[in-house]
């Protein structure tokens, strides 16, 4: 621990950083966002946080529970034991049972036998589901807009009014549910003005029933609080908010890993250049010259086009060009520090070169490292987002801001503003926080006291 014991100078710098409010609060907010993003499965996930079923709690977040567990009706052609519970649907189904049970009870009056029959008819009214704030995971395609109407239509066709009403209520189609309950749906469907085809799809198309109007369209869908798509869906029907959240988690940790590895390499190379000088310095400077003269991003794209890299591979490819920046500063610092007395003292009592560099000199050369790191993080997020936008970043279904921007720039999506504003807002907010931190760190570590004449 002695390596990291804070000397008075560092402590004063940290105090100065705390006093720069803009930077300090940016730091607090960014840290909080990062910690939150680690718990993303509790914030945006299609699995429920808690299911209360027949007097017993279930915690499905990290657990597979089939539909049969809760008696959920599987899609046509499937067995309830074959597929996982759809918790968001389950939540709405049970809620509707509760509602309809209440309504039926009011209608039934005080007839004990009728009430008992009702209680038996709605067995799930006491169960409930607690969903995460965003009940979608970032990979899930929500095509429900295409599925709801046929489902209700087939219930109507089978003469099952009660089921049709239940489905309409489940999906928040209040006016349709009312029309089914009071029987007026039949006259509506028979009217060729309102429904030329005589089906619900026809009703949706003419706009005679307002709540149906948004059904039957294909994604991207605009923000819809009822479906809990707070920022809309993308072209594959995936929830934008969920993808932003997971995209943040991937971007920020990718950037941190990248910068960490690049700075470690750069610091080692730069320190050795400055300390060893001579032949090693000259040779490695030539290598660096070659590397900085090559437009890095193009080479990264060429390599990415060849390998279709995974997370760690892309990180390694980008690190190839990222480590250079810091070497210049470390080299200069080392050239200066190694002539100081404490270095000579260490040398005179026989410390090895490695010990002198990493134990004695490095702790005194950390200022450029600390002050440049936030800006390196900005650069790394830039690079990852840019590569994702070009299609040479992380492989396809990975939630990513750059990929959303790419979607927003497709001709058919250009007027769907939520697709561009959401990732742009997230990107800008994150980067502004990091830049503010960087500015404040720089100021705290390198305060030039300037004379003023006025």
């Amino acid at each position: 621990m002695r390596w990291f014991r804070l000397d008075p100078v560092t402590r004063r710098r940290l105090q100065r950083f705390r006093r720069i409010r803009r930077g300090f609060w940016s730091f607090v907010i960014l840290m909080a966002a990062m910690v939150l993003s680690v718990f993303a499965p509790f914030l945006a996930e299609s699995r429920a946080l808690l299911v209360w079923f027949e007097g017993r709690p279930y915690f499905p977040t990290f657990q597979y529970l089939e539909m049969a567990t809760f008696g959920q009706e599987p899609p046509a052609g499937w067995d309830g034991r074959e597929i996982e519970t759809e918790y968001f649907r389950l939540q709405r189904e049970w809620r509707v049972e509760r509602e309809m049970h209440e309504l039926a009870r009011v209608r039934a009056g005080s007839d004990a036998a009728k009430l008992a029959a009702l209680d038996a008819k709605y067995p799930n009214r006491g169960n409930f589901v607690v969903m995460p704030p965003i009940p979608w995971n970032p990979y899930q395609n929500d095509f429900s807009a295409n599925e709801t109407l046929p489902e209700i239509q087939s219930a109507l066709g089978a003469g099952n009014q009660e089921r049709a009403e239940r489905l309409a209520r489940r999906d928040g189609l209040a006016d349709l549910a009312r029309a089914i309950a009071d029987g007026s749906i039949a006259t509506l469907l028979a009217d060729p003005e309102k429904s030329p085809t005589g089906t619900l799809a026809g009703l949706a198309r003419t706009g005679a029933m307002p709540s149906l109007a948004k059904l039957g369209t294909s994604p991207p869908h605009p923000p819809d609080a009822g479906r809990r798509h707070y920022l809309g869906t993308d072209a594959q029907g995936r929830d934008v908010a969920a993808r932003l959240l997971y995209g943040f988690r991937i971007s920020i940790f990718f950037a941190l890993f990248l910068v960490l590895s690049a700075q470690v390499i750069g610091t080692i190379v730069g320190s050795l250049q400055g300390y060893l000088a001579g032949r090693f310095d000259i040779l490695s400077q030539r290598v660096i010259e070659v590397l900085i003269a090559i437009p890095g991003l193009y080479v990264v794209i060429i390599l990415a086009a060849l390998f279709q890299p995974s997370f760690w591979m892309l990180l390694a490819i980008l690190a190839l060009f990222q480590w250079i920046g810091i070497t210049f500063f470390m080299r200069t610092e080392m050239y200066r520090e190694k002539t100081r007395e404490y270095c000579l003292a260490a040398k005179s009592y026989g410390a090895s070169h490695l010990r002198i560099v990493f134990r004695h000199l490095l702790p005194n050369c950390l200022t450029p490292l600390v002050t440049f790191t936030p800006f390196a993080v900005v650069g790394a997020i830039f690079a990852l987002t840019g590569l994702d936008y070009l299609g040479y970043g992380l492989p396809a279904p990975t939630p990513s801001w750059g990929e959303l921007i790419d979607q927003a720039l497709q001709t058919q999506n250009r007027d769907k503003l939520w697709l561009i504003l959401a990732p742009f807002g997230a990107l800008t907010a994150t980067l502004v926080l990091v830049v503010f931190i960087g500015e404040s760190v720089r100021e705290a570590f390198d305060p030039k006291q300037f004379a003023r004449y006025e």
Binding site: I301, L303, I405, R414, T428, V434, F436, F450, Y453
Partner: protein, 349 residues
């Protein structure tokens, strides 16, 4: 004792000589990179021969259909010989390098034209954006930096700092995407992209110029948003440093007005660091930001190189890499020379 002119000449000569090993390093690295890739030259020619690839327009898909194509072995051998792939690597590299040195960059697969001409055709667009960006950057950053230095730690300073750092934090291409979806698609105030309208050539010169300016408003905002922070802060810090230097104190002590001391004495010296950034512009003219070029579909050199990667048009990729790295090296030398010109204290060692 050499005169300053002789020293300068020797210095430039030495620097140019030092560039040779770097140039060899760069070209060797890029050559290697492009030789061992699937979908490279041989594969491209195979596709062209098999008629599967209509002039290389099918972007990125070069590798996928490779297996299905059956080319007679002797024809392949002829192709390899044509591109020097039948020779050992150093010989092939030497042959290619000899061509490069003679300014022969090869022929583009996609356009079937000399690479040099393909790049030259795109150059005016890149230069236009490069020059405009440079004018705006310096035209705004230098006055703003001076203002911020004089008003150091006042509200103006804090506010402009906030602004330029927010601008710095926003990636230009993402800003460009927002701008084009809002101003070009939603409100239809500006054109969607491109360098000029389709019928621009038939317009009069004034209308043509206006058309180009009209097309460049949104891209320029995207280009510029991030470019203020670094230069402005460099200007500000350099002026602040000079304002507190002893020679300014002396000037004030002998009775010079504050205005004269700052704007004549301190300002002139604080412009020196700005000169170091000037040489870098040479490279920017060429590369620009191909991300922004892609968003706005601007046919610049950067976008050309990106599309060349996509379509595996490796002669163009190599040519671009070679040209831009040479320009970067020359730009560095130019920076040093400009600094030496404006600052007589610099010695050539």
């Amino acid at each position: 004792m050499k005169s300053r002119g002789e020293a300068l000449r020797d210095y430039v000569a030495r620097r140019l000589l030092l560039m040779i090993p770097t140039f060899i390093g760069i070209t060797f690295a890029t050559f290697l990179l492009c030789q061992f890739v699937p979908g490279g030259q041989i594969d491209q020619m195979r596709m062209a021969l098999a008629g599967a690839d209509g002039g290389g327009e099918a972007g990125g898909g070069a590798g996928d259909t490779r297996a299905q194509l059956d080319i007679p072995e002797e024809q392949l051998a002829r192709l390899r010989a044509y591109y020097g792939f039948d020779k050992p690597l150093p010989v092939a590299y030497a042959g290619w390098l000899a061509d490069i040195v003679r300014l022969d960059l090869g022929t583009s697969f996609r356009y079937n034209e000399p690479v040099a001409r393909v790049i030259a055709e795109r150059l005016p667009v890149s230069i236009y954006y490069g020059i405009i960006t440079a004018i705006f950057t310096y035209g705004i950053c230098i006055p703003l930096g001076i203002l911020k230095a004089i008003r150091h730690r006042t509200r103006v300073d804090t506010l402009t700092s906030m602004l330029i750092f927010v601008g710095y934090a926003v990636p230009g291409f993402a800003l460009g995407a927002v701008l084009s979806n809002l101003f070009a698609v939603r409100w239809e105030l500006f054109p969607l992209g491109g360098f000029q309208s389709a019928g621009a050539a038939a317009m009069g010169p004034a209308a043509h110029a206006l058309d180009i300016v009209w097309h460049s408003v949104l891209p320029l905002i995207a280009y510029l948003a991030g470019s203020f922070a670094v230069t402005t802060m460099l200007m500000k810090n350099s002026l602040l440093e000079n304002m507190s230097a002893d020679y300014v104190k002396t000037a004030l002590a002998k009775g010079l007005s504050w205005r004269r001391a700052v704007f004549v004495h301190a300002l002139r010296n604080s412009l020196i660091p700005m000169a170091t950034t000037a040489g870098g512009l040479l490279g920017i003219f060429l590369t620009g930001s191909f991300l922004i070029e892609r968003v706005f579909n601007i046919p610049g050199v950067g976008l050309l190189a990106f599309e060349a990667i996509q379509t595996r048009d490796f002669p163009v990729v190599l040519g671009f890499l070679v040209i831009s790295s040479v320009l970067l090296m020359l730009g560095n030398l130019l920076s040093d020379l400009i600094v030496a010109l404006v600052d007589p204290r610099v010695r050539f060692e």
